[in-house]
Symmetry: D2
Subunit: 266 residues, 4 copies
């Protein structure tokens, strides 16, 4: 929407229907911190057909993206929260990370990402990180309320072989999403409700550097007045017990894909 001007322009559609190669673009620095929490606290976040697999380890990843082809070279930032799941549908089976929410600081990719792909994207402010005396400090906020601090330190770069190993270990089938769009007038009922998958293959993405270190992440308790559209989401993360940190990671990559391989799992 508005579709009467032609299809929404964005990552999968440029001027005059042009596709984007994503070969030397975009450049991404992804910083993440993982922690072990309680199974019981993650289970309520699972849509029907999803189950936890392996340990209940939550990963909070913040990415700073530049030189994006479909934005004519501009950039934006994202903040995602995910944990490992399996989805058992009527026809399909998928193992991967369930991306329970993905904040982005630009509306345009939020719209196409939600509607075309089923990503649970919402908006927040994600300023550039502060890097000072070996500490990287990332934050996220909304209209003056800072709801997250993520700090990373003691970073050491991995040699190339380990890097490749690191990456191939990841992913399973890919990233799992629950696409849900409401029906107008019939409040509380969906028009659309299905599971989607971002397949893990990403042939144009080149990993330039991987760094490992220590980190912490803190979500800050919010009132409805602070965050009237998302205090419940932030507080769900605030409430998660952090039983043990599982380290921090910084990844620098170039290249990617337009996600037109996104598909429905049934």
């Amino acid at each position: 929407m508005p579709t009467h001007f032609g299809p929404s322009l964005g990552p999968r559609q440029g001027e005059a229907g042009r596709k984007f190669a994503n070969v030397d673009s975009p450049k991404v620095t992804a910083r993440s911190v993982s922690f072990l929490t309680n199974r019981e606290q993650l289970i309520p976040l699972l849509p029907k057909g999803f189950e936890l697999v392996a340990e209940p380890v939550v990963t909070v990843e913040i990415t700073y993206i530049t030189e994006i082809e479909w934005l004519a070279g501009r950039g934006y930032n994202t903040l995602g929260v995910s944990f490992p799941v399996v989805f058992n549908g009527k026809k399909d089976h998928g193992v991967g990370s369930f991306l329970v929410v993905l904040w982005e600081n630009l509306t345009d990719p939020i719209l196409t990402g939600r509607e075309e792909l089923g990503f649970s994207k919402i908006y927040c402010e994600i300023p550039e990180p502060r890097i000072y005396q070996g500490l990287t400090h990332c934050t996220a906020g909304w209209m003056g309320f800072k709801f997250m601090d993520l700090k990373i330190w003691n970073l050491r770069q991995l040699p190339t072989e380990e890097t490749t190993a690191q990456i191939s270990k990841q992913g399973g089938d890919g990233i799992l999403h629950y696409k849900y769009l409401p029906k107008t007038g019939d409040w509380g009922k969906p028009d659309i409700a299905y599971v989607t998958l971002t397949p893990s293959a990403n042939p144009n993405q080149v990993v330039k550097e991987v760094w490992q270190g220590e980190g912490i992440v803190q979500f800050h308790k919010a009132t409805w007045e602070d965050l009237p559209t998302m205090f419940h989401i932030v507080n769900a993360f605030y409430d998660l017990e952090i039983k043990e940190y599982r380290g921090a990671k910084v990844l620098r990559t170039i290249g990617g894909k337009d996600l037109s391989d996104q598909r429905i799992l049934q």
Copy 2:
């Protein structure tokens, strides 16, 4: 989305399912300029089932909203383009304004407005107007590219009786929208495509002031590099011939509704 944390909070859903009264909230200053254009230029913008009625008069309205209850007292601004149409569906018939696009400078209401209501909302920057020596100058832009100037002058306030008359003249059945959401993976096909109506009744809205005057509106030609997600929309308005201006209006209102009376027309 994310629906696994509960329904999206927004205008129709507060903390713990609370509804908003919208009695002394929000406060809106709406500034608009209308012009006569060519029927032939508007027809391509009509979805199936829509027809132009009366003269092809386009209205560009920019609103500055404060003291919004569902945002805990914050505000945001909007910029809409509409013209009079009739919709003849299989079952339903509706006469009103077709809102071809509504820019807003806050993502949160864009998401619920698109998905719950079918408004063609997208994002842009809408700074506060400049008011200087009797001229009000409104602008809209995106990441550094100003795509619209709207100027209003020679304003004179209407007496109360005329005000009431003005308002009741408006509207027909209400505002018409075309809700379209794409199907994941089946690119180019819709998951949802239907017409929705915002009924014109707005019992809590009190018109405090109506001013009439003269005005102009200019959309600025954009390249894909300038506006990679919406140059085609802005250029469609840039291309519209302005055959004759039909005056400017400033409306100050208090109160409104949560739009939960939005419904599908079939």
Copy 3:
């Protein structure tokens, strides 16, 4: 500076040396909260020649300014902290408010205000207030750190006579400032250090409304990392004991002056 292009343009200098009348401009909404504190805590903030007079009552005032003539109709916001003093110089004597700091959310008037007038202006973010269910909530921050909350409620409008009385009671000789500019290379030494006065007369300013009510103000303790250029200022206010609140006030005015009557007190 840069003076090689001609004198700095701003409130006292428009295009081609033009002066501004400030008759129907600007429009100001000033919200303030006052509280009684300890004399001992204010005394260290006094430059040489200054003494406290009357009770040690601190006023925190936040103003939202629109339709500013010298900004071609744009607006900006300010946050000031002041208390009553007397200045006894070698030649001059002045009674009034000492404006210990004035934050503004626009750099341009900060520069001319500091250098031409001697106002202790520095920068911060001052978003529009939230107004919700009878409570007005104002905030100020810097690069993601919110350092102040000011809340006002129970407002009742004063009748016109009281309004006039209110205003004439104010002010004494005016607002007192300490202008200090450092000498390059001779670190720690001033190039300029003198007291300036903003005379209280403001003949073009028309008070449209005065409201009185209750209010609170909270400064938030900051680290150097949070506010590397002003944590010491914010913490000085955080440390002030609030012995008793002395009420809140909202003032709406139109018109003003260009402050070219600012003068040095010796």
Copy 4:
């Protein structure tokens, strides 16, 4: 100012008087384009005692700075315009670049830079560059008016030896500034007016990469309404004839100095 809370914190003063080492900080990417113009157009910009030397080549340099120690790891951007001059004072002689204006997108260093050092710093918005298909596109604006585009392409990296040669060629004695601060009340008269020098020595600065290429720079003609505090500065650059471009350069450096070696030239 406000000096009653202690000296201004900034690049030369941290918490409790701490100095900053600037060894691995900041990280700077400087992009510049130079062009030949007319001597006659630069001469009016010269303060007393200054003369042009060599060719009238103007350099427009835009820098993107991150990991700044005195900002606890934050960053900001700058846009400067300079050309080669000689200053012949009563006592001192200096050869270098005259920095006629330096825009910055953060107020805090503007204040200390103007007042402590005599840099002609003013404010503008400097978004991150767009980098797309080999073209780097930098822009600068103010409250919605984009006043400059700078584009660089065909970049090739220089080998290390050339890099060192490049850098040592630069600079002469350093960067020259004209510090001018007005006297309150005695409008049009200075309180301070002298020349300052930023010596070229910068022992902690390590040049990591130098790239050379082609580029253009365009200033856009502004009205007083567009840029009420600086249309005259922007238009002075707009008016400069571009007789010949002299290439573009991208420099990546780490480390720097706190500029406490800044001194007055008499």
